[in-house]
């Protein structure tokens, strides 16, 4: 796992680094510390990261803008901050966890476990997804998302009305932060179950989900039975 720590207070950064090394042990591929948003941005531009541990207040500066950029990126974000009053806001943007200061190794391990385990999900589901558009970050309300289509290292959000937005996260990573209403119906599709009208089986063991907007999406063979039970 590649980690980026963004923390301006050296004692806190030392504590984070020590705990991360202890928790991840051999699973830690790389760990880099940044003390400013600029340093963090420069590192992210050049290096792949799996998880960013972000303080929301660096030397008095508000970290929400960086948070929006962070959650719009391909990696997961864990907030480590004393600003607990902003935890809900952070979760709305799709962070994996919010670790309040002062923190213990156990609490940090819990947060990192959400990222590490295959079925791990965010502590609270996001209500918005941040997407990068022309150098800026825009928020898309998850309530508007009908389904998500995987596109290699990216994902495509398909919104009510047909508009499509590209997201930097893979389908797997998005699945961890989206509400439980979204189901993985196929290796390339995440669908809001409330948007599904019916499931159809076709010849040759082909299955389709017909959405209320008329769109039909393929269903993985192994997922059909479970989905049918959920719909019933």
């Amino acid at each position: 796992m590649k980690l980026l720590l963004i923390e301006d207070e050296p004692l806190v950064a030392q504590r984070l680094e020590r705990f991360c090394r202890e928790i991840l042990a051999g699973g830690l591929e790389k760990l880099h510390s940044a003390t400013t948003f600029d340093q963090a941005g420069a590192w992210l531009a050049e290096n792949p990261v799996d998880v960013a541990l972000l303080d929301l207040n660096l030397e008095g500066q508000d970290g929400m803008e960086l948070l929006k950029r962070s959650v719009a990126s391909s990696f997961h974000t864990i907030i480590v901050s004393a600003n607990t009053d902003r935890a809900l806001e952070a979760f709305q943007y799709g962070v994996m966890d919010f670790v309040p200061k002062p923190f213990t190794r156990e609490r940090l391990a819990q947060a990192l476990e959400r990222v590490r385990s295959p079925g791990g999900r965010a502590a609270f589901a996001a209500r918005n997804l941040a997407v990068k558009k022309a150098g800026r970050v825009e928020l898309v309300a998850i309530d508007d998302v009908v389904y998500v289509q995987g596109a290699g290292n990216y994902s495509e959000l398909v919104l009510a009305g047909g508009r499509r937005e590209l997201h930097d996260k893979t389908l797997e990573k998005l699945e961890t932060v989206l509400p439980a209403d979204f189901e993985r119906i196929h290796k390339s599709y995440l669908v809001r179950m409330s948007a599904v009208k019916a499931l159809h089986s076709a010849e040759g063991s082909h299955y389709e989900a017909e959405l209320k907007n008329g769109v039909c999406l393929p269903i993985g063979r192994a997922r059909y039975k479970e989905l049918r039970e959920k719909l019933q």
């Binding site: 207070e9 806190v12 030392q14 504590r15 030397e59 008095g60 004393a82 607990t84 200061k101 002062p102």
Partner: protein, 587 residues
Amino acid sequence: MRLSLSWIVIGLTGMWLPAAWAQTTPDIRLKHGDDPRWAAPDWDDSDWTPIKYTEFPAHRGVYWVRIRMIEPTPNTPVQGESRYAYVWDWPGKSGAAPIDALFLSSVYSFELFLDGERLIGGGVVGADRTSEVPGRLDHLVQIPEALRHRDSHLLAIRMSAYRYNFPATHFSAGFQPVNFAQRLRQEALQPIFPLMGVVGSLLMSMTSLILFRFIEQRRALWLVSLVSLALAVFYGLIAMRWLYPYPSDWHYPRLLAITWILTGASFLLVWLLLEQFAVSRKLWWLGLLGLLLAGAWQASPIYEFKVLWICRAMLVVALPVTGWACWRRQPGAWLALAGVVAALLVVRAERRVFLDPTFFLMIAGLVLLVFAAVGAQVQAARRRAREAQLTAARMEIELLKKNLQPHFLLNTLTAVSETIEQDPAGAVKFIDDLAAEFRSLALMSGERLVPLKRELDLCRAHLKVISRRTGREVGLVTEGVDDDSLVPPALFLTLIENGLVHQQAASGAAFRLMAQPAGAGLRYAFVSPGRTRESAGRPAGGTGLRYVKARLEESFPGRWTFSQQQTATGWETVIGWEAEAATGGAA
């Protein structure tokens, strides 16, 4: 010149004597000496010296004056205003109250004979100042019934004027045929306006004094009190003529006193406006007023005109002062400007006398409006103070939150947690430093002003905690400060917090606090070291600066200054205040 001299008559006699009347009465004849036969109407005075009504000699022994008064007929050529008394008011003319009395004001001792009959005397006529006894100033005497219906009259006056105290060697004298009842009523009404002025001014003076003593110790308020007191004396001196029938030789000193009092009141009124609206270069304005007032004293020998010119001089200076205050949108300034403009309109014409009600209304209106302007300013200042108190209370909570808020505390505790694991002994010192900061803060959190030493202790305790957290040593050095001087609590702590957030200070750098006296107050320059983080400079006002300004306004309402700028060594904030209560000033 003739017009001015005619006003001398008014000044001396207090009545309207048309100049034209004097011209149409060619027969005023004077003879030095004393002979009771000269009172006779048919005495041959052809060898007497003809004089004008302005040529009555002063300090020249006993003399007689004979004046022929002719009742004009409808065909009599009448010049100017002379017609009003004779044609309309003389007995026998329809619609007018009949003339049955003579009114005169004398600055001399006299015996007056009408058609040979002695009507009245004023004092004792004397051959020198010792033997002359002054009489009352104003005289109203009824004309005997038998004399009222004659076509012409001969007025003979035996007189001496050693007690005439004016500087001039000659004086004017007038004799006004009047209706006795009408004139009595008129004389009874004369003191009403001045008396109202006395009572109103005294009330205003007392009110201002009480407000100054118990409500707001503002210099403008005691100046209002002084101006009102001066005006009460001014009105009292005017009313004195009817309330206390003083001897005629008091007339000149009384006029002199009236003029001086009004000069003083004018000076005080302009000073009041300068103080009230915090006009800079007060001495310059007062010097200009002094010059104009000196000019007003020279503008005319007539005391009524002197008073008029004094008012004009005062208003000419008051106009730009109040206009400037209006332009600066100072509270109540438009009230004062309205008063000045209205007063200027009143004094624009040269027809004013002391008894004219508009004069009293002008003075009273002006002072009332200026007083109202002071009231508006006091109200605005109190509102500002209330708001400042509320803001300060909010800011105090903000300040406590800043130090006790979860973010500060939890970050510090996280750092403490790590220090405990890395260096237990160091963690104990860390906790001691944190406790020292909280103790300092608790000591001053409810205070309005604290000694600078306590403020500096708090700042240094905070810097210690921050240094332990960040690993950067940032100090605080002072220059020329007085540990006992009083400052609003957490004033410099807030500047330090702002400096830590907005400046990139290298380890080993230090904040600098420099104090220097500034007039009656203090001036502090505070430099936060390092380069400003934001490329566009610091934000104009955040919670910290709002706190600083609210605290300054609370402790030094209206008399503090605040400025900040980037310098070569860091970010400089300059704060100053006046120590003593005074009006004006702002951030």
